[in-house]
Symmetry: C2
Subunit: 197 residues, 2 copies
Amino acid sequence: MMQKLDGSEDLRVHRTRKSLEQALIEGTVEKGFEALTVRDITRRAMVNRSTFYRHYLDKYDLLEQHLNAIYQGLEEEGRIVEEGRYEGLIELLKQLQQFSNFYRLVLGTHSDTFLSLRFRQQTQQHCRAYFQQTFPEATADPDTLPFDLKFTTVSSAASSALLWWLEQERPSTPEQFAHWMQQIVYDMLVPTFKQKK
Amino acid sequence: MMQKLDGSEDLRVHRTRKSLEQALIEGTVEKGFEALTVRDITRRAMVNRSTFYRHYLDKYDLLEQHLNAIYQGLEEEGRIVEEGRYEGLIELLKQLQQFSNFYRLVLGTHSDTFLSLRFRQQTQQHCRAYFQQTFPEATADPDTLPFDLKFTTVSSAASSALLWWLEQERPSTPEQFAHWMQQIVYDMLVPTFKQKK
DNA sequence: CTCCCCCTGTCGCATAGGCAACACATTCCG
DNA sequence: CGGAATGTGTTGCCTATGCGACAGGGGGAG
């Protein structure tokens, strides 16, 4: 068996997954997510179809895992709220910007209902994890505003901000926008939690 | 042993070679061919360095094989001179156009001497093979203009035309330019060979 | 209805490619 | 000068991936 538990993957694995994600994005832009078949994806990625199934259950699973991966930088770099430290967020924005065609499809109002639903779920889930990690004390404390309430409003605001940014004609740089997002989130959180220190 | 002699490669082989060619092109554009190391190429291609050496002797070999591959469509599709049949040429032009940064470096007057020399050699070699195949009778016939003379002038003209096209600010479409090239080559060849029929 | 075509998942076997280590050359810096 | 750092080629072993075949499942046209 010998499961690899450390983060260092075999280079082949890394390359295969990246190719498939790339092919998913391009294919979705070209003919839409629902019309896209596993064969389409693997042909484009130059990966054998059987290999696809060694990594993913189906195209939905691929999408989900890809969206998960998008956020990992955020969690690793962390600490949006602290001074000037949001490299993770900037990485995320760069990824979104690079394939903005795709993510506009995923996020946008005209999107496939499945896709947009899934994306919002992912967004919320990751925001939740992030905030629980950043403010562990807030989760349990009954005196403050209910954690779930605060979390819901913040992640909703963040989603809207992202969507707004993606749909701009000439979007500002990831760095600039990251700064704005940081400010928004900061302003929302400070009144609730900051004074406790 | 069991050498694969048919054209159908293992998908992995195809993918690996494509990745390495792509990395060569991008790397050359970014930091120049001479400054580029094998490590650079393999890192960018997400291919292990040892795998590189299973396919190529060194970066020069990679370049040479890549340039060879570029022309294969020409030889397979063939028949530039015949009516409207130059799909191979169009494919070639599309490739050149897609990475015109790179090929301008390779072809251009300011290019690295090794690169430009190698490219011109390749061009001549493929032109020669092509013409020998298209006009097999001309090679031996002592009555016509010497084959080598004709071939030299034609391939030189073709190289200049290609370079001209690559250096245009707003180049015409591959289809349009292919048509022009066909006309040039046709006009050069017809007086010599066509009347023999 | 059947036939045909393309899709999905899954399998066993063959192999290309990853990894780690090697000797050796080179540059560069104290 | 000497050694750290980085590059080139090469090797042996292990494994992810390709290939081909399979059963099963829609749909579309006769």
